[in-house]
């Protein structure tokens, strides 16, 4: 079972802290909103993912273990 990052687009206000803390996985669009890689996060990057999750001022970022929940919400994968 592997970990994935999930952003709640309603809660997200585009602060962009996540992309600074975890640029390997998150880039920002033209308006500063995160574009998150939907893939499995390798173990060595997990601490960075956790830091990004914890730093979001809107608590919009969530690490999840259930691949099914992410797929159900997004319908299609981002990348």
């Amino acid at each position: 079972m592997s970990w994935q990052l999930d952003v709640n687009p309603i809660a997200c206000a585009g602060h962009g802290v996540c992309a600074e803390l975890f640029p390997e996985w998150i880039e920002l669009d033209d308006w500063g909103y995160p574009i998150v890689d939907r893939g499995d996060i390798p173990d060595e990057l997990l601490p960075h993912a956790r830091r990004a999750e914890a730093a979001c001022p809107k608590l919009a970022l969530a690490l999840r273990r259930e691949a099914a929940a992410v797929a159900a919400r997004n319908g299609s994968s981002r990348r």
Binding site: N8, P9, D29, D30, Y33, A69, R78
Partner: protein, 418 residues
């Protein structure tokens, strides 16, 4: 076996009464929970746009604990679609048969029908149909805003639960937690009408027309540069060219056909003859039949104006919740309008491509994905016209009234024929 099925015996000027309806279709059997497996065998998928397997939704609702609900989503908030209102105007009893049978199947007596607050809506036909049957008393009619978002089921449920008409994050799906937090089966009127016929004639009858993967018949709303606008029933998999011909044929040479509405795709004129109206064939163009909107765009129209107007409308109707929609849709609308005026920035193609790609999978609901699909397909099919506008500025067709209607208030219902 033959068509019409849903529209069998209908009259244009008034709805079929309960007695007439039963004469045409026979009495409605009481099937109960077994209906779900009949629907599964029929292959029926929702006719509201997303094409989700109907039986899967029914199973989820039936499996969940506690009191459940059936919500008929009759908002039909796609401006170019008129088929659900046509069905409710002419054959309301068929929709009620399906809604009540679906409620029996998932184990509830609660049925809510959400109708748009549109003065021209065929509400009287529905009220009259409810008054004709005892079970009509347990069906509740509820008015909802006449807006694009009313068709999005999580937004609709949010509104009916006392919140704003804005999508919510799923999961939980409505089938898990919907109306008044009950597991809720949300279906559009046409899907329920198919359920009523499958209950009568069985799954084998249903999939005896259509294709192996897209079974049964479907209602389509045909408009644009064809002689006879209106709602028709087709077998899924019918040739696009034949459906245009059945609408009286083209009024002028066709440039492209929009299939699937504002979340659909453009089929270029040269591809019409190789396209059939089923999801498998339309997937080759990146789309699906959706809610059955078919708009023929004539060569005298300016495709760029159509794209610009539609995206501007979507921008104005967006829920204002998710960054990608809040910023992406207005930015796309502005770029398209600059492009149409011959004032586009040098990197306009890259920006159009990037902005629309960045809508995909990034909203709480699927409306931005639909906008990206519609626009991406348009940019592809109309690349020559776009290059011409970039080079020469406005074309002679730019000032003509657009073929697509941008807004629910220009709804296609006024020109609905059976």
């Amino acid at each position: 076996m033959s068509l019409p099925r849903l529209l069998a015996g209908v009259r244009r000027e008034r709805p079929l009464s309960l007695a007439e309806h039963e004469q045409v279709h026979g009495p409605m059997p009481r099937v109960g929970p077994d209906l779900i497996e009949l629907i599964a065998d029929s292959g029926l998928r929702g006719r509201g746009g997303a094409g989700f397997p109907t039986a899967v939704k029914m199973r989820t609702v039936a499996r969940n604990r506690g009191p459940r609900s059936v919500l008929v989503n009759a908002a039909e908030s796609e401006p170019m679609s008129a088929k659900d209102r046509a069905l409710l105007r002419m054959a309301p009893q068929l929709v009620l048969d399906g809604a009540l049978a679906a409620a029996d199947a998932v184990g509830t007596r609660s049925v809510v029908i959400a109708v748009p607050r549109d003065p021209a809506y065929p509400l009287a036909a529905l009220e009259q149909a409810l008054a004709e049957r005892a079970a009509g008393r347990r069906v509740k009619l509820v008015g909802v805003p006449w807006a694009h978002l009313a068709g999005e089921e999580s937004a609709l449920i949010n509104y009916l639960n006392g919140g704003p008409l804005k999508p919510t994050l799923v999961p939980p799906l409505p089938a898990e937690r919907g109306l008044a937090r009950r597991p809720t089966l949300v279906q559009n009127p046409e899907t329920l009408a198919h359920i009523a016929l499958i209950a009568r004639h069985g799954p084998g009858w249903f999939h005896s027309i259509g294709t192996a993967s897209h079974t049964g018949s479907a209602l389509v709303t045909v408009s644009g540069a064809v002689r006879d606008h209106g709602v028709r029933e087709i077998a899924c998999g019918a040739p696009l060219a034949a459906v245009l011909d059945s609408a009286g044929g083209p009024l002028e040479p066709i440039r492209a056909v929009l299939v699937g509405g504002y979340h659909g795709v453009w089929v270029a004129a040269e591809d019409i003859d190789s396209t059939t109206l089923d999801d498998e064939s339309l997937a080759r163009h990146g789309g699906g039949l959706g809610a059955g909107v078919i708009v023929a765009l004539g060569r005298s129209a300016c495709p760029l104006q159509e794209l610009a107007g539609t995206i501007a409308w979507m921008a104005s109707e967006n829920a204002g919740q998710c960054g990608p929609c809040i910023h992406g849709l207005p930015a796309l609308a502005e770029l398209l309008s600059l492009l149409a005026a011959g004032q586009a920035p040098r990197d306009v193609s890259q920006r159009l491509d990037r902005y629309s790609r960045n809508l995909i999978g990034r909203g709480a609901c699927h409306l931005p994905d639909g906008a990206a699909r519609f626009l991406g397909s348009g940019l592809d099919v109309f690349a020559p016209e776009i290059a011409q506008h970039d080079l020469r500025g406005r074309c002679s067709a730019c000032l003509r009234p657009p073929t697509l209607r941008f807004g629910v208030h220009g709804h296609a219902h006024s020109r609905t024929a059976a």
